[in-house]
Symmetry: C2
Subunit: 224 residues, 2 copies
């Protein structure tokens, strides 16, 4: 009996913090963060919800761990390349990671304690800039602008009422539906923008990202 139970436990992989966090990320990616509960997560791992508390202090601690894993997925700046290329690639990687885990960006605001992958990432970016000759002040300026832009752009992108990966017809339809509800001329400039851009065959808001990124990189270059 005892032996049988032990074997059943063996059959599934041992519960670890890492396995819990990865399962939680998968669930959050699929169903959204507001639907992620300790009970559902336990079920998914073949375990009672209460077992999770042997590996995570509480749910907040678990969310901290999830955010740190997401951070770890962002490419570190390549340290051979010039700083513009390195920062450009890192920014593009960061946006892709955040789009893959849409729940992560909204969680940032309330995470008090940064994890090791987060700290490593920050250290690496600062190192890349300092090595390229940035002063401490200028590295702080550059990092603040770039990260602000990356997070904010992606947040806005995620907030758009249509999926960025979907085809243009969905976008056009959506924009049309939204505008229909208003008196003509109530939001003339929004309407103009919708007709001119959002309703065009191959419009993707995400295409704006690199325009802004390059404008910022140029601005930093000039400020050096």
């Amino acid at each position: 009996m005892a032996l049988r139970a032990k074997r059943a436990a063996k059959r599934r992989a041992a519960l670890t913090r890492g396995r819990i966090l990865r399962a939680a990320i998968t669930l959050a990616d699929r169903d959204g963060i507001e639907s992620l509960s300790m009970r559902k997560l336990g079920t998914k791992l073949g375990v009672e919800a209460m077992s999770l508390y042997n590996h995570c202090r509480n749910k907040v601690d678990m969310l901290d761990g999830m955010v740190d894993i997401v951070f770890g997925e962002i490419d570190l700046p390549a340290n051979g390349a010039d700083w513009q290329t390195a920062m450009r690639k890192r920014a593009i990687s960061a946006r892709q990671v955040l789009l893959r885990h849409p729940w992560a960006i909204g969680l940032m605001e309330s995470r008090a304690t940064p994890g090791p992958a987060t700290l490593r990432h920050h250290d690496s970016v600062l190192g890349s800039l300092r090595t390229a000759g940035f002063s401490v002040d200028m590295a702080a300026h550059a990092y603040s602008i770039l990260d602000g832009y990356i997070y904010g752009f992606t947040l806005t992108e995620l907030a758009l009422p249509f999926s960025t990966s979907e085809g243009a017809p969905a976008v056009a339809e959506m924009a049309g539906t939204i505008m229909e509800g208003f008196r003509p001329g109530q939001y003339p400039h929004l309407a103009e923008m919708a007709v001119d851009r959002a309703m065009k065959p191959d419009y993707k808001y995400g295409d704006e990202f690199e325009y802004g990124l390059d404008l910022i990189l140029d601005g930093i270059e000039r400020a050096l």
Copy 2:
């Protein structure tokens, strides 16, 4: 008896959607969004939680309304001024509003249906740019960069493990505590940044905001 009940109901202001939303914002500002429940909100308004459902379809609808009110607090661009001044003032106002309602920014990502104040705000910003001679494409670029930066910077600012409004000693202490836990040299560039800036007497991360804002405004000017 019926009369008495009616009088008691009269004594408190009638329950309206607006009154509910304002009370909810006050509670979220004070205790955080995760602590805002329909039951607590009802108690605060002197009413059963279930009464709220006569004025809000559900909690998501209520959160939509709250976000729209926050949007309405952001100054619209003054339409006499040149576009740089108008955009600068609007950006500064937006950051102040978001710092006042720290829960709002994390909610944006999941709000599917923008409210009237939100639409009005967007329309007004686009109008200000178009009037200043921006092409539709250039207005879209400018708006995307500016809003991305504003949201992202403020999100980062809110995520910092110390309050921006607090005095510098708290920041210095915090930075010290964070760095203490590591092997010396584990995060050399973070350590350098902490010693050089975060631990300085009157360091405030918020001061970075206008540096980046002006860099972006200059970049847009040059792209025109």
